[in-house]
């Protein structure tokens, strides 16, 4: 990512001192803007963390610095709310969905990127349509379908579709697989590998960054998903996920802002930690979703 990071150095010889001073002023100006914006971007999270460390009384005031520090709020929120339960459901949903989506999407992406067959372009356009169209379009028939099998109120309607690929994941993986030179695949085929063996032995090891990015996106999507759990699990609180729980905490604990914010911080913390470990795969993945400029 260093290539993306470092701006192209445009060195223009500075003819005189006034020009130099102008440059320095511009340098200061740009960095000041960056610092001011940086503070604005960080403030909401910092404020949330500070609020979560206050007493519940102080959290209701306009203060933003805790009079006394209460890290035990993070223990209490586990005791007085169903947070452990929400967390478990969220982990089940996000992990199983991510694993299944990758298993079902990688072969499809490989076929779309590297195999020649009739209707390939048409199929790819269909995948893009599925990816682009708002999920709300098919919400009601899907809900009725799951209700017919008695699966609403559980996590099943959220996880089972992952067995059958995900349009965005297929799209992203295909874009990545296109960057792998076909010569490697031809070499494997000449050595007598079948297509599946070629995929498993040759393509998978080379596609690891793309697969990591696709997996991260799916995991984050599930972790953050609000519409899906609201639709399918709101009728049964034992299936609620973090997003759903957080949105409703407020009604039950509306005077305990310190606890609501502690739960909110806990909901975002795993994502930020994962991001710092996987930043490279992540940024590369986002870049792949944009199209060639």
């Amino acid at each position: 990512m260093t290539a993306v990071l470092s701006p192209p150095a445009v060195e223009v010889p500075a003819p005189d001192r006034r020009y130099n001073r102008q440059r320095r002023l511009a340098w200061i100006g740009k960095h000041s803007i960056a610092i001011a914006l940086g503070i604005m971007f960080v403030t909401p999270v910092v404020y949330l963390v500070l609020l979560s460390l206050m007493t519940s009384d102080q959290a209701l005031t306009a203060d933003y610095w805790p009079n006394s520090w209460h890290p035990e709020n993070y223990v209490r929120v586990f005791e007085v709310t169903p947070l452990p339960h929400y967390l478990l459901n969220t982990v089940i949903y996000a992990v199983s969905s991510t694993v299944l989506v990758l298993l079902s999407s990688v072969p499809a992406a490989y076929a779309l990127a590297k195999l020649k067959f009739r209707g390939r372009n048409g199929l790819f356009l269909l995948v893009i349509c599925v990816m682009m169209l708002p999920p709300q379009v098919v919400t009601v028939p899907l809900y009725l379908m799951w209700a017919r099998y008695g699966l609403t109120g559980s996590l099943a309607p959220l996880i089972i579709p992952a067995l059958f690929g995900d349009a965005f994941c297929i799209f992203l993986l295909r874009q990545f697989l296109l960057t792998i030179p076909s010569e490697y695949l031809d070499a494997a085929r000449v050595d007598g590998c079948g297509e599946w063996r070629t995929l498993l032995r040759v393509v998978l090891p080379m596609a690891r960054p793309g697969i990591a990015a696709a997996g991260l996106f799916q995991f984050f999507y599930c972790w953050n998903d609000y519409y899906g759990p609201l639709l399918y699990t709101s009728e049964n609180e034992s299936s609620w996920t973090l997003s759903l729980g957080l949105a409703s905490f407020h009604s039950v604990h509306h005077v305990d802002w310190n606890l609501v914010t502690a739960a909110t911080v806990l909901a975002m913390a795993p994502l930020i930690i994962i991001f710092f470990f996987a930043q490279r795969a992540f940024v590369q993945g986002i870049t792949l979703t944009g199209f060639k400029g």
């Binding site: 940086g38 949330l48 199929l123 356009l125 579709p161 059958f164 407020h250 975002m268 940024v283």
Partner: protein, 312 residues
Amino acid sequence: MTAKPLGVRVRKGATTFSFLAPALIGIAVFFLYPLGSAVYFSFTKFDLLSVPEWVGLDNYRRMADDPFLLQSIRNTLWMVVVFVPVRIIGAIGLSMLLTQLKRGAGFFRTVFYLPALVPPVAATIAFVYLLKPGTGPVNHFLEMIGIEGPLWFNSPAWAKPSLVLLGLWAIGDLMVIFLAAVLGVPASLYEAAELDGANAWQRFRSITLPTIQPVVLFAAVTGVIYTLQYFDQAAVAGSIASGQATVGGGISSNFGFPEGSTFTYPLWLYTVGFRYSALGYANALAIGLFVVALGVTLILLRRAKAFTGEES
């Protein structure tokens, strides 16, 4: 295709199919089938307990004089017209700034990106607290510099702008896409322009912008699609700002708070379908959304070649 033995071709076809089978089933069962059902249901009337009864175009006629629908369309249009361009301009601005920084560009990129990771529900809660009219730090700060802050999420006029602020805060994904595009502009073009005496703004106008123009189109189309399905933040902001949030049973009682100003099209669709159980009408609304979204998508697909990055 030159003549290959039939057996080989069949076997090759079978292998290809084995790669695609899960995805094909997925598209058929979870997209094409429900889409077809939605079209059929949109001509019927039923609820969770009754059987669909054919009513012809009744649902579509009903759309013509539904005040809530009109309000939700107005709100969604407002978001499309304001939210999408503001986010694109913001993302281009941030990525241009990052390329100008001689030091700490990586650090600032991470800082600007981080809010995009915050779950939408968590981010919305954070913003409702930040912008609380009485006790929020933003209005407190504004008061210090002598400005009387608005009521933000509690004011019909400011609720949508508050959502735009929230969207600007979580701009990271878009910024990274633009950053890659901006850095992809050949440095030689800038050098030539600088020798010609072009100032920074002229260089941006005549070099950067034309070069990244396809990415702007991509961002505009995906932004409109995103805004058409804008649900989570509007739903959560409305219920939390109203101070009496209920999910679960009484789901949508606070949708659109205050005074319907955050009541977007998807919220109305959800309310009609899952609160009023007017499933036929909800499907008609869904088809309306489908037609608009498809139209917008086609704009992008007309540029499919750039989008799909075909090898050949």
